[in-house]
């Protein structure tokens, strides 16, 4: 059996905002092909952790390795796709078309002057076709619905076929049907291409079916392991209460049987 490469390694990450501690002693290892769900309440430090991983914030203490490189020296950002939180709110009135937004997904692989070529445009077209949103190509992003925006940003994040996809609460704006489709697509990419996925959500039920590992975050890592382990974890029993834990696990197992 081949040993899978480590995609992300977090060692004792601490982060505080002023005197307020946001993350304490976060450690974990994510290997190639993992589909990790980070679950936590609002304010549990999920988004902060993502920003630290992406080098948008600097941890106070601790070490991060992305593809076995320190984030300070890491320059292969094209290997990482990222779908941020609250896309719709911050960019509602920005006068950019779907095609233009997609073209930003190519930026990390371009050299100086970074022109968008005909070939790039073809690639964008292909990706939009794959996501069934080619008809949106020339629309302003402000004119899209939440679900459409989500698809555009996922398509953008996947434009360079990244090895590692990071999603920050992407499913919260989607209706149930679209969400199911969204997850089945992610599972597909995860299984066929062995794309590593890190998925942040506040709702366990979104992720329990797809992820092979769960991290329960509340400033610290309360739990990190498989779903089966989650169901028998004494810490999680303590956190959720026996009934709630049982009901979450039961729902999921029911799902598997169907």
């Amino acid at each position: 059996m081949s040993i899978d490469r480590t995609i992300l390694l977090l060692k004792n990450i601490h982060y505080s905002y002023g005197k307020q501690s946001v993350l304490e002693n976060i450690s974990c290892e994510i290997k190639k092909g993992d589909f990790v769900g980070i679950v936590g309440q609002n304010g549990s430090g999920k988004s902060t952790l993502i920003k630290i991983i992406l080098n948008l914030l600097q941890q106070n203490i601790g070490d991060i390795r992305l593809f076995e490189k320190s984030t300070k020296n890491f320059n292969e950002w094209w290997r990482i796709g990222y779908v941020p939180q609250n896309i719709s709110i911050s960019n509602m009135y920005f006068p950019a078309t779907v095609e233009e937004v997609m073209s930003l997904g190519l930026l990390s692989k371009k050299d100086f002057s970074r022109r968008i070529t005909k070939e790039d445009k073809m690639n964008i077209k292909l990706k939009l076709t794959q996501f069934n949103i080619l008809d949106l190509k020339n629309k302003l992003i402000g004119a899209l619905s939440g679900g459409q925006l989500q698809r555009v940003f996922l398509a953008k994040a996947l434009l360079l076929d990244p090895d590692f996809l990071i999603l920050d609460e992407p499913a919260s704006a989607l209706d149930t049907a679209t969400r199911k489709e969204f997850f089945s697509y992610l599972q597909d990419e995860n299984q066929k291409r062995r794309m590593t996925i890190l998925f942040v959500t506040h709702d366990m039920s979104h992720i329990a079916d797809s992820a092979n590992k769960l991290m329960f975050l509340d400033k610290k890592v309360l739990f990190y392991g498989s779903f089966k382990q989650f169901c028998i974890s004494p810490q999680m029993t303590k956190f959720f209460g026996k009934e709630a834990q049982h009901s979450i696990c039961h729902q999921h197992i029911d799902h598997e049987h169907h």
């Binding site: 948008l56 920005f94 006068p95």
Partner: protein
């Protein structure tokens, strides 16, 4: 006088060449600044340039050459303060802006008071532009235009979303400084065209007009440039024909374009 006759004058030709370059520069930069919610920076820097020009006049030095380094320094300072204290950026610009005017008034009264010279820096006097001034403006504008052309996608990414830009490998701090620097240069080259008091108009109005009716980012940028350039051309001819101040006329033409675009948006529900 008809247009052909007006075009015969050397000073009109110089005014047109300078005006077109400066308008192109300001209207392009304006799109990026407005979308980054940084349009106030132009206002602040133009007031600083007033202080610098007054200093130059009181020392008997060529004001534009004094203004260039001072405004560039101020632009980098505003950018630095903006990054250190994210939440009060607009108030900080307000402080720098009013300080610029305060120094300006003091320097002006020390030298000669508000004479014709200082008025031309306040409200522009493009028809009196010399060949050297024209060449300097064209050179600086050309430089900034080249930078915008080569770094278009970096600037687009940065304007769209800073986090995205960072992850795509765009050096955000550097480009923020670059934008501030370019704004500083455009303030100085605009002094002769519309003056320090009306600079913001050149920066903001064409871009705002374009934003009303644009269908993509690229078209916003191009349309803004077109509106800016046409406004300067119409403004110069109109002011010569009617014998009214050129700077003010250019701004009013810009304003008309904005009103037309704004009404079109309301009317067609774009």
């Amino acid at each position: 006088m008809n247009i052909i006759e007006i075009l015969q004058f050397d000073f009109v030709q110089r005014a047109l060449i300078t005006g077109i370059f400066v308008a192109l520069l300001c209207s392009l930069l304006g799109v990026f600044l407005i979308l980054r919610r940084m349009s106030l920076i132009g206002d602040g820097l133009s007031h600083v340039s007033f202080g610098a020009v007054a200093l130059g006049l009181s020392l008997g030095l060529f004001p534009t050459f004094i203004a260039l380094p001072i405004v560039i320094l101020a632009s980098l300072l505003i950018n630095l303060l903006n990054q250190k204290t994210r939440y009060y950026g607009d108030a900080l610009i307000g402080i720098i802006s009013s300080s610029g005017i305060a120094f300006g008034i003091i320097f002006a009264s020390i030298s000669n008071g508000f004479n014709a010279d200082i008025l031309s820096y306040l409200f522009g006097n493009i028809l009196t532009i010399s060949t050297q001034e024209m060449l300097a403006s064209v050179f600086l504008s050309g430089l900034v235009l080249a930078i915008i052309y080569f770094f278009y996608y970096h600037l687009f990414a940065l304007t769209f979303n800073e986090d995205y830009a960072k992850i795509a490998g765009v050096k955000v701090t550097f480009y923020n400084q670059l934008i501030a620097l370019l704004t500083g240069i455009s303030v100085v080259v605009s002094i002769k065209v519309v003056g320090t008091m009306l600079f913001s108009a050149l920066l903001i109005i064409p871009a705002m007009a374009s934003l009303q009716i644009s269908r993509s980012f690229k078209s916003t940028v191009i349309l803004s440039a077109v509106i800016g350039v046409i406004s300067v051309i119409i403004g110069i001819f109109t002011s010569v024909m009617l014998n009214i101040p050129t700077g003010g006329t250019i701004v009013i033409v810009n304003l008309l374009f904005f009103l037309i675009a704004f009404s079109a948006r309301q009317f067609f529900k774009m």
